[in-house]
Subunit: 165 residues, 2 copies
Amino acid sequence: MTEQPTTEQRGATLRDEDFLRLDGQICFALGAANRAFGGLYRVILKDLELTYPQYLVMLVLWEHGTMPVKQLGQHLRLDSGTLSPLLKRLEAAGLIRRERSTEDERSVHAVLTEEGAALRERAVEVPRRIARATGFELAEIRELQERLGRLTAALDAAVDSVGRD
Amino acid sequence: MTEQPTTEQRGATLRDEDFLRLDGQICFALGAANRAFGGLYRVILKDLELTYPQYLVMLVLWEHGTMPVKQLGQHLRLDSGTLSPLLKRLEAAGLIRRERSTEDERSVHAVLTEEGAALRERAVEVPRRIARATGFELAEIRELQERLGRLTAALDAAVDSVGRD
DNA sequence: AACGATTGAGTTGTGCACAACTGAATTGTG
DNA sequence: CACAATTCAGTTGTGCACAACTCAATCGTT
């Protein structure tokens, strides 16, 4: 990996061919890591009968308690098109209830049931197993998070400013 | 939940509550970054009428040429259940042909059509736009790739050795 | 109070990801 | 050679992600 850091010195604008190869890799690497996580979660969450996205929803509810769908979506970066059916499945599984808000009837709150709250006990070991599986030190995980956060922000900003280029 | 979850520090072992918060984050961050990429690609690839996964397939074919589905899947970390319909759509779009191999009739080769090969010219600018959007230096991207690669490998290994824990 | 604009949840349709499966071709072993 | 095991592509079914839309509730402005 140790190479000339600044690329466009010398003969150095990468050729398009190189770019087309290179390019695949960061999004590739990201997608691959993401799916590898998915695979591991699938295995680990099998006992709890949760999918990975469902688990993420439960995490948010365990941490913050009752919450409208909208806000859940903000935490999770998901929209109602994804959340609505997912929450229905969680409801069907008896882990949450969906209650239309009385003070704003457009809004629906996701509320943990007894059973949903209880599931937390069994989920407690999940993160540790995952963390162990990564083989990463906490500091390294944090750093990775930080970079991914910056990356996400940059990409989002880029999406917004599509036109000019 | 009766306590204030003061963060790590001191007693090196994090408590379960903290873990349950933390945990969300690395996979979260990864998923969010991945979807942010998806969003940007969606915008940038609109002209080419390719989805992001379709674009990745085309990248591999542009780089390596004709290739059986199996091998494509190895490059992309995807199985036939995902690739078969995707390749059909690429075929319907006239970008590839699928040709059953003569020397091994189980195998199907994805072959670029004239049109598919030509699309490369128009795709050439894509990686540069993406790279620019990340706002990352090349070196940083490389480092991120390296870590994600290690992460993926560790997670895959963990999936294989599920039982003991 | 009236009413157009906005907001929130949900629906529909498309595409990806993957498990579990089918069926045909090939390979390995006796 | 025979035939069981394996390999490969494809299908089916489930669930996620998102665009584009609907519909009702709410808000802002006049």
